[in-house]
Every structure is written in structure tokens, then in C-alpha cells.
Amino acid sequence: MNKIVIVIPAYNEEQTIGKVIQNLKKEDYNNIIVVDDNSSDKTYEIAKKEGVSLYRHIINRGLGGALNTGITAALNEGADIIVTFDADLQHDVNDIKKLLYYIEHEYDVAIGNRLTKGLNKGMHFIRRIGIRGLDFITYLLFGAYVCDSQSGLRMFNKEAAFKLDIRTNRMEVSSEIIKEIKRNKLKLKEVPIKAIYTDYSLSKGNTVWNGFGIVFKLLLRRIM
């Protein structure tokens, strides 16, 4: 039986982190790692009460830094399959099984695709354009096209997770992961998933300005 470890990077998610963990546990995902990226609210305390494997950054490093810590921690804890899962209730726990099917059937990586018609209610048209734009930039810079490169729901087998070399710190990590998948010639499957958008989760995502910052950081990563 494969050990599935869920990695949740969290920064100031006191409103939702408890519910996210409870939803996962209801579906028998009991190996949960939360990486608190030096939150200033009660994210750490709430996650601790829920009884998960908790890691804390002493300085805020961003999504990339938190994912890097989380994936390393998951491998250290003996994970066979690692799932990255957002802390803002954007993801449906039931979608994990859909990704799992492909990982158990010879794929190395599965990424949730939020842009499938009918599954992205509440996703603003500008956000959709932004994601497409970043997909295109990721393709231009790293030669890998993915329909939803910015998706936070990803699944890796342990061999794939070992090969990832994540160096970016912030939101640009999503594109860097695509680059790493291509660089390591990992077998990738994009799986349609539901995107649950509330005012809260919308406030947590990328803005247009973030998007420009991400592009700039990706250009730098290409050069460095």
C-alpha cells in the first residue's frame, strides 16, 4: 500500500486551514504535512490542534520555499506519493483520487487542470487569461506546455519528487515545477479538477501585478 502524504504550504490561512485538514482526514488522508511559512496569524496553532506533521519557517520564504520544505519533509517521512494541496479551500478533496489513478498507472506526475469547461465556476475571466499567459511564458522559457501551469493540486511519485530541484521562492515555483518535469523527462498527466472560488480564495491567488513579477522571476531563473 502506497503511503500518500499531503503537503499543504500555508501562510496566514487561519480561516481555512482547520477545515482543509478536517476535509482531508474525512477522506482518510491522515499523513498530512503543513508548512507554516512564518504566518503572523494563528495558522500554526490551528494546524497543531488538528494533529498534523507541522513544520515552521522562521522567516517567510514564499510558496516555493514552503513547497520545497514540504516535499523534502514528505520524502523524509517515507512518502511514496506526494500531493501538494492548497490551504485556501480551493481544492476538492475528491479530486485527489482522480490524480492518484494516473500515478498508480505509470505516470510520474499528475497536475490538476482547473480550466476545464464546467469545472471552473467563479474563476474570473481575467484570471483565466492570466493563467493562459503564464502557461505560454512557461512554454517559451522552458519548452513545456501545460494547460494549467499554476495549479496548486499536484501529485508526484517519490522518484519524481526526488528529482525536483526547486530554487525559486515565491509564486513562480509553479512554472519552475513544469520546467523540472520537462528537464527530468517525467511522465505527466493533466487531470480535470474542480476549482472552488470564494471571495477568500480569490483574495489569495495571483493578481495581475503578481503575474508580471512571476514573468520577471522566471526570466531570471532562465538566465541563472
Partner: protein
């Protein structure tokens, strides 16, 4: 006729080349950086000794005044240096993340 200021500038240029050579020897500069600095300093010395060459160069670039050429080069140099500094900062950020990650993992082990 060579002016005193030109002699002074050539001496400064000469010592600058020595400094660059020394920094290269103690591995503070890469081969590429060393080469660029040497070319720059040698060209500077030549232009100090033969200032009339500047007029021929600015005609080549289609610029009307020598001082404009100086500002264009200065601007390019500033952009280059800012870019280098930015790259350095990014590298330092990556190194900080490695440290923060190791601390988080170590704390959990305890």
C-alpha cells in the same frame, strides 16, 4: 604634447590594471571579468593619450558630442551593474531559503 593630467590618468590606469591583475590572481575576478576590465582600462589609456581618437569614434556611432558617448556608455555600465547586483540578491535569497528549510526540518526532528 602630453599634458600632466594625461600622465596622471595613465598612471592611475596602469595601477588599475595591476589591481585587476592581482584580483584575478587571487580569484576574486573570473577570466571573463578580468578580460573585460583589461580591455576597458587599456582602451581608456589609449583614449587619454590620443584624445583626438574620440572624435573619430563618435562619428562612427553617429553621435555629435564626445560627452554624449560617455553618458551612453556610463548608462549601459550602470544597467549592467544593477543587473549583476540583482542576480546576486536572487542567489542570496535562494541561500537563505536553504537555511530556513534546514532549520525547519531540524526543529521537527527534535
Amino acid at each position: 604634447m602630453v599634458l600632466c593630467i594625461q600622465i596622471f590618468c595613465i598612471i592611475i590606469g596602469f595601477f588599475s590594471i595591476i589591481m585587476v591583475l592581482y584580483r584575478f590572481k587571487i580569484k576574486l575576478l573570473t577570466y571573463g571579468e578580468f578580460s573585460l576590465w583589461c580591455i576597458f582600462l587599456i582602451l581608456l589609456c589609449i583614449l587619454i593619450v590620443f584624445p583626438e581618437l574620440i572624435n573619430k569614434i563618435i562619428i562612427l556611432f553617429g553621435i555629435s558630442r564626445g560627452v554624449d558617448l560617455f553618458f551612453y556608455f556610463a548608462l549601459m555600465l550602470i544597467f549592467y551593474l544593477i543587473f549583476k547586483i540583482y542576480l546576486k540578491i536572487e542567489k542570496i535569497e535562494q541561500e537563505i531559503t536553504i537555511i530556513v528549510k534546514e532549520i525547519a526540518l531540524e526543529k521537527k526532528k527534535k
